[in-house]
Assembly symmetry: C2
Homo-oligomer: 334 residues x 2
């Protein structure tokens, strides 16, 4: 029997897709995008996504508060909706509770979840609670809506499109590294504290996704759940193109430099591989550049950086001056 760990999540997803085969016409996008898209009635699209957090895989209860875990379990799903340009409408929460989990812990988890759900316009409408003989496990489904022509797909890019990313990258991975070194939070500087905050309570780019979707200024979008390198590779592969990033243009989080440099780690490589930034990456046809940047300016306080371009030659590369090196692999929770 072939051990499943040798395959990884993508190969397993492919096996599921093969089994599903042809889907009915009301399924516009099935397996393989940030979220599924259904068209229950003509012109009105429903976007549905599900994602889970497993104790010991995605979080540790001795590092992170249950309120932050509740927030993050929803945030990662809202990020998937944002990457489709969708407005959040509702959420579902399933929790498998380990033995000895207390009511206070449950309440803290619920508070973190519901606070974000309410703020994001995705009220909790249902779910499931069960006990777990093992770790705490949280599965969330988020549901959103988007008009058909405002939908951001993953596979809409073209050779020649420019690649953009919102915010800064690497902060979440640096925050995780700090937590794993048992850094005393009180002693951390502002940039480092922000890294921990981004890792524990990421802010989904809901408004940015909606604004760019409404402006119809991007040809494709994806969120950065598994890192920038993984995201741009997927954007390029989905449309049969290659991608070249410009190392100097990549907006590293300040905390990455502070953390990686004294440890002899290349901050760029670290940031490219690091997952869970939950920023958005877009591809933009050059003729739509000014429309895109105009829309991006309406995403208040959120930086938008042009970081590269889709190219005809296959592969995913980062250019440092004259030198092209392959993009590193992504972050795999599997």
């Amino acid at each position: 029997m072939l051990p499943i760990a040798m395959l990884g999540e993508r190969a397993l997803v492919d096996r599921l897709r093969e089994r599903v085969g042809t889907v009915p016409p009301h399924v516009l996008i099935g397996i393989g995008d940030d979220a599924a898209v259904l068209e229950p009635e003509r012109g009105m699209l429903q976007v549905v996504t599900t994602d889970g957090l497993v104790e010991g895989v995605h979080f540790r209860r001795d590092w992170t508060s249950l309120s932050a875990i509740g927030h993050k379990a929803l945030a990662v799903n809202l990020s998937d909706l944002a990457a489709m340009g969708a407005s959040p409408r509702a959420s579902l929460l399933s929790v498998a509770l380990p033995a000895g989990f207390s009511l206070e812990e449950f309440d803290a988890l619920a508070d973190g979840f519901v606070a974000l759900a309410t703020a994001a316009g995705a009220p909790l409408v249902g779910g499931n609670l069960t006990r777990s003989p093992g770790p705490l496990l949280i599965d969330v489904t988020a549901i959103g809506c988007v008009a058909r022509r405002r939908l951001l797909r993953r596979d809409g890019g073209h050779r020649g499109d420019e690649v953009y990313v919102s915010g800064t990258i690497g902060g979440s991975a640096a925050g995780l590294a700090m937590l794993s070194e048992s850094a005393d939070r009180k002693l951390l500087g502002a940039a480092a504290r922000d890294c921990v905050e981004r890792h524990e309570q990421p802010v989904p780019r809901t408004r940015c996704g909606q604004i760019i979707g409404r402006a119809r200024a991007a040809s494709a979008a994806i969120d950065l759940s598994d890192g920038l390198a993984d995201a741009v590779r997927r954007l390029s592969e989905a449309c049969g193109a290659g991608v070249v990033l410009d190392a100097d243009a990549i907006p590293l989080h300040e905390g990455v430099l502070e953390w990686a440099t004294p440890r002899g780690i290349d901050p760029l490589d670290f940031a490219l591989r690091g997952g869970e930034d939950y920023e958005l990456a877009f591809t933009v046809p050059p003729r739509l550049r000014s429309r895109f940047l105009g829309a991006a300016r309406r995403c208040k306080g959120l930086r938008m950086s042009r970081i590269g371009r889709l190219v005809a030659d296959p592969g995913a590369w980062v250019a440092r001056g004259e030198q092209l090196t392959p993009l590193p692999g992504g972050f795999d929770h599997f």
Copy 2:
């Protein structure tokens, strides 16, 4: 710290509902029904539900094939949609895979899930795979559609309504009891084999729920995930009524009699408590009885039994001749 096991799922659900507070107008039914109901556009309702199976809580891999587990994980969600009168449209699958889980096991799980998804018109459109440091855990979200006036709610009953149940009850619990006694399946008689089959691969009453919903002949509906006693108690509590069941009218599965009687167990009590039958219970105003029974006859091959009545006095009771005894509690996975 109060241990959570002392509270049970319903109390925890109440805590979540309190936190959520007022929901926006597009949420027609939030926490507390079989499924949530959204109205993304006027007149068109989206029904969403999520439910999960945890190894060691809901199933044992040494008793049940992975294909059956994949089937059941979806079936329990389709049953929730059926209880709302909804047509299945799509499904999402999240799996936390334990160490050493093989590709053959994954494929068997996927086959069981996808076969039912395809047959039910709920194609798999997305999901999430992660590893689990503990048991196998499967979370499923099912999405359906229903016209507003065909929706079956849990809280629509009235005093005086008759209570009906589809199929026969207790079979799944008897099947579980047979599995836990390590019965050799080859030596089981036909009724007993059917019990094991019902426990492992329940058939959601999708068509029945749709037909009754379309006929607008029931005032309320619920599925029997946690047993008949629990279901009718919820139907009555949801509309502020009491309920009295007629012991002689309750359609026991033949296998329950075969299994319980030689063990000195009251078959009726066993069947009322036993969960996971995934039949549907309805309340029907007497003036709609003939319309309801006409619709029920179109649910081919599925028996429909009138088993009791909603009454003004609170409480949930079963009448055996002249004697009223309180209905037993439901099955709680918690």
